[in-house]
Symmetry: C2
Subunit: 264 residues, 2 copies
Amino acid sequence: MQKSAIKNGNIIREEDALVPVTLREVQSNFSVYEALRVVNRHVVHLDDHIKRLESSASQIGLVLPPVPWQEWIDRLIEKDNLEDATMRILVYGGSECMIFITWQPLITYPDSYYSEGVAVTTYFGERYLPTCKTSNLLLSYLALNDARSKGAFEALLVDRHNQVLEGTRSNFYALIGNTMFTAPDNEVLSGVTRISVLRAAKELGIDVVMRAVKLDEMCNATSLFISSTSMAAMPVCRLDGKTVPCDFQTVLKIRDLVRKWEVE
Amino acid sequence: MQKSAIKNGNIIREEDALVPVTLREVQSNFSVYEALRVVNRHVVHLDDHIKRLESSASQIGLVLPPVPWQEWIDRLIEKDNLEDATMRILVYGGSECMIFITWQPLITYPDSYYSEGVAVTTYFGERYLPTCKTSNLLLSYLALNDARSKGAFEALLVDRHNQVLEGTRSNFYALIGNTMFTAPDNEVLSGVTRISVLRAAKELGIDVVMRAVKLDEMCNATSLFISSTSMAAMPVCRLDGKTVPCDFQTVLKIRDLVRKWEVE
């Protein structure tokens, strides 16, 4: 099947979703993006994603034109007859914005990732403009490659103060007893799914503290988990090669609430 | 005139120098580059540029295939009959490297920039992997835009210790009496032109200290200047809107030596 994409509102062939390497905005990755989850032809939490896209753009002075996002997305869903998909909005700024919407099959994970947990590693490095979802992603790329080379699923980024802030494509949480720790909004990319995780914690009677745990506090954690649009909430069973405890029941309750609210 | 470019050794139309936005390496700017100066059909310091390109690639684990650089560049010079030009080598890594060589008219600056100096601003921010010339350039892009919005020519990047390390596309030097300060190689992108600037300083009997000056030491400077492949050595006359002293004669002597050695 010939896949399609959207460029500035128009249907194009996916293979024509290209950018010129001579353009300063491409060379300097002056661009913002969002990853969306499409389930049953419906985009999950579109308003939250667009709000974040606008916030990212505004933080770097990238002027977004008004865009009928739902309409453009529906155009692509209809053209390629998509039931489920993971979509990507990518906007390059400049004198004329280039706005792409592309898709791939819905990213899903084996059940065992949830029932047994995933391995994560730590990686030292600080994201530039952490509250902003830009294409300035080299650190995340290298950190994730490092994790994969060690057989792990995700890398957690650790800052100069030894704070474990977030994953390369996920938010990070540590449960210590009945208290859940996660970095404050101004230190990380505040995930759209994290909004639901925080709500779920509240619903389950878990105390939430918006503070990142430090590396040397990780040994006190009774559970670690990560969240993202694709993962919902995913338990962690290994940290830098060492087995860590996990209260699967609690993490999976959070996951189930996150997924339930997606379709409400 | 239809401009040409090189892609993986082949001549293409410049308008076909494109990369797919669906590729992870493009999305994450897993790429390295060099800007070259072509004068009288000759590439200046090609060996130094290729050495740095290879070093940048190696630092991020980007595997470069063997490339006959001189041959590819000559192919483009011949095809577009280039006397003088500023060329750009851009390499995206991944399972198959994409290697582009593109060109634009030789970047030159008005004589007044050298006889009167240029205005610069300061900008807080630290380059990720400072010794590595990657496309992870959002900080530099934003810093330079900020400088331009204030009528300045270049932005100098200042780190968490208030060290004035380098420009967004230049190295930075402060002369205090007969001593020239510039950041050590491990803290900045060690410019190809900087090699010549350091040699010129030696030739002129100037003492060189490889240490960045701090913001609060800038008031002691008797001259500030910047260097790059396009600029050679360029005097600075204003810093954050305030006039600063400059020994033009010394800076221009350095510039003349830098330019002289280009064609030797």
